[in-house]
Point group: C2
Chain length 429, copies 2
């Protein structure tokens, strides 16, 4: 069942009705191009039909590795940067306990490396691993991106020193392009390797081996993740004006044309904090080019209502909000009675915290709306693998269409290359 | 010694030289007003002379509580939201080990509560505390803000149930205004209470009891924190055109006038991630009013260079960057040799990771500069209590002056009240 709902009640009134309707009609052709790979960057649209085309042998492979590592390893270090870690990381944070966001209880802890050039982080990591049995998942399209390459050099040496070359073969899995330096090196050294499809870019790769293997090792249900994505695919590839992915893509472009410069992705659950990082990469890297694009920001409510909330309510009127809402909850904690009622909150005794949270959401929506900040919401039924699979897919499709409406290639990142070139030049000098 | 350095080499060339000079001259009077409390919100400038005026008995009190709790408690839950938790939280993340960002090894773990309305978070917290001996620090000016009040209701009940009323008296400390409901309640119940000064707002309170008590319990040196702030105060209250806090405040306003809409606070060390959240509150809440102000964002490099980096390099030209730089490092991890050099990185073997990180910083600065993004940097000597104290103070003074230049009151937050009012209305209906 497809549970994603798009609510635009507090957004559309900022826009002329005709512009929304005609925008959606015009965007139908972009969805068509995306589906048949005829748009800009069409060679990188392998993710579009991935939910149905993914090989069951890949899913089995991931689950097999997860099972064989489960009892053997305390920790699995996932080495990757950008699109090679954000999808798995945000899934883990969404589904794990708040005070141990490294995976399900009883499964190896997942930690990430190669996602910065912090010497302190690497030193702390080596210290943390000292008394632990660990494995490595190395994710890199080329294998030569400097951050993950440095981390892999260090951790591979450490592993060989501690466990020997033969045992290291059983503890390293690489995920890389079939023609990469990392693939060749894996073959020579006997490291198992999973494919990172050539036609899928990093930020659209969470439903490939890139996301699936770490998520599976962490104890979560990757079949359900893919099923959720399938439910979204069935609904969101329909070339119809009622398609919510299309409508969302059109609305954000209309706001951009009306002068909005920033889209703030908000949530009301701290477990979605990193989902905001995933969204920032997806949209920022897909659209931020040729001097164009909405600047993607993220914010956690209600905590940031006591911080950035002031700016949103009364600062420059240059933003709109897209809220990620979870409709239903899985636990029950009610407001308890207090003898003295010193805080004056006795009138909410017996309500659940989530009821108060929903009132905060309602109150915020109205306050920001009246303050001139349009508010879109994208809701899912509950926070689980199935719904995450669906919402990943929803935003991927929306983002690609949105970039087409904007007139940019959603699948390249020429600006990232400028930084890489400068860095290599400085290193070689 | 005052170690903060402001580098504007990659920023000033975007601006006419006269405008910087005349801007600084004009801003001198704002610093004067800040010092003598004659500017807007002057009644809330108690933080300006706090580093020298702080009572030594308060520091002793914090250290006494920290010592008495050290061996007795596994965990201390700090209840607070907005300015009541961001300062302590970002200090802890900056100074703790990467894989246990809850304080120094051998000291009680600090966790935070009352900073959201997430039922799941509270449920996870109660679960986490089940087999642990814990204490509570409750930080709230009024004591009636709904998020911390709900958390305190739940945790206080839980504590009384587990440890009894008498023992609870020894495990609860409140930090609140001397006339608040929470203070009265503390007196009646025999909870020790520290003052939250009436003339200091939340976002300027990290160097008061609000920050000092949690930081001290976590095992860090609050005397050194205050000493660092003193060194900054000695330098940054000088009404002189060479004052770097003044120059930074002027530059950001000039960029704003030139059409920049976003200031991105960046860092090259994941331990500063939460410092970015502190900055976002400080600037967003101080300046975002009357339809004005730069939108504050934050970003972590190099990780985000593989994400938002694309937008910064080639998206809309509406931002400038302010980088927080740590000059020196405390650990040593060098790039090791690799037999096969599959990744082609043998030419950096023997270099430290931090050297590569510095090259990344240099390369990024130049790339963003040439892409039309001005880049200011604020550097500290190393990441410790002393330098944190100094940089907190640097940004507080800069922010207040900047708001005066912008023509807004740096110390109120009328927009936050709109949300609170709407919430209470919905709860009462």
């Amino acid at each position: 069942m497809f549970t994603i709902k798009l609510n635009t009640e507090f957004a559309e009134s900022f826009l002329p009705k005709e512009s929304v309707e005609s925008g959606i009609k015009k965007a139908l052709s972009h969805l068509e191009s995306l589906k048949n790979g005829s748009g800009a960057g069409g060679e990188m649209t392998g993710w579009v039909k991935l939910p149905t085309e993914i090989e069951s042998s890949l899913l089995e492979d991931c689950k097999r590795i997860a099972i064989s590592w489960r009892d053997k390893l305390d920790v699995v270090v996932v080495i990757g940067i950008g699109g090679s870690y954000l999808g798995a990381k945000c899934t883990l944070e969404a589904l794990s306990p708040s005070f141990s966001p490294n995976g399900k209880k009883g499964f190896p802890h997942i930690v990430f490396a190669g996602c910065s050039l912090s010497e302190e982080y690497m030193s702390d990591l080596l210290d943390y691993l000292k008394d632990k049995s660990y494995g490595l998942v190395v994710i890199s399209k080329s294998g030569t991106t400097i951050e993950p390459a440095i981390a892999f050099r260090l951790l591979r040496n450490n592993m060989i020193e501690r466990f020997g070359k033969e045992e290291t073969q059983k503890r390293v899995v690489t995920i890389t392009d079939r023609n990469s330096a990392l693939k060749k090196m894996s073959d020579i050294n006997g490291y198992y390797s999973l494919p990172l499809p050539t036609n899928i870019g990093g930020r659209y790769s969470v439903l490939s081996a890139v996301g699936l293997l770490p998520i599976s090792i962490a104890g979560f249900d990757i079949d359900s993740l893919i099923d959720g994505a399938k439910s979204a695919m069935d609904n969101l590839l329909r070339v119809e004006i009622t398609n919510p992915a299309l409508k969302y893509a059109v609305l954000r472009n209309l706001f951009y044309r009306e002068g909005k410069k920033i889209e703030i992705f908000i949530n009301y659950n701290p477990k979605l904090k990193f989902f905001g990082e995933w969204l920032k990469q997806l949209f920022g890297e897909s659209e931020g080019k040729m001097g164009k694009g909405l600047f993607p920001a993220s914010s956690e409510f209600t905590t940031d209502l006591h911080s950035l909330g002031q700016y949103i309510q009364e600062g420059e009127r240059i933003m709109f909000e897209t809220a990620i809402i979870i409709e239903n909850k899985s636990v029950a904690v009610n407001i308890p009675n207090l003898e003295d009622n010193y805080d004056g909150l006795d009138y909410i005794v017996g309500k659940s915290i989530e009821e108060i949270n929903k009132c905060a959401e309602e109150g915020t929506k109205k306050a920001h709306f009246s303050g001139g900040v349009p508010n879109i919401s994208v809701s899912i039924d509950k926070l689980d693998e199935y719904n995450l699979g669906a919402i990943f897919y929803f935003f991927e499709v929306s983002c690609a269409i949105s970039a087409y409406i904007l007139g940019v290639n959603p699948f390249d990142q020429p600006g990232v290359e400028v930084y890489k070139k400068n860095l290599y030049k400085l290193l070689e000098s």
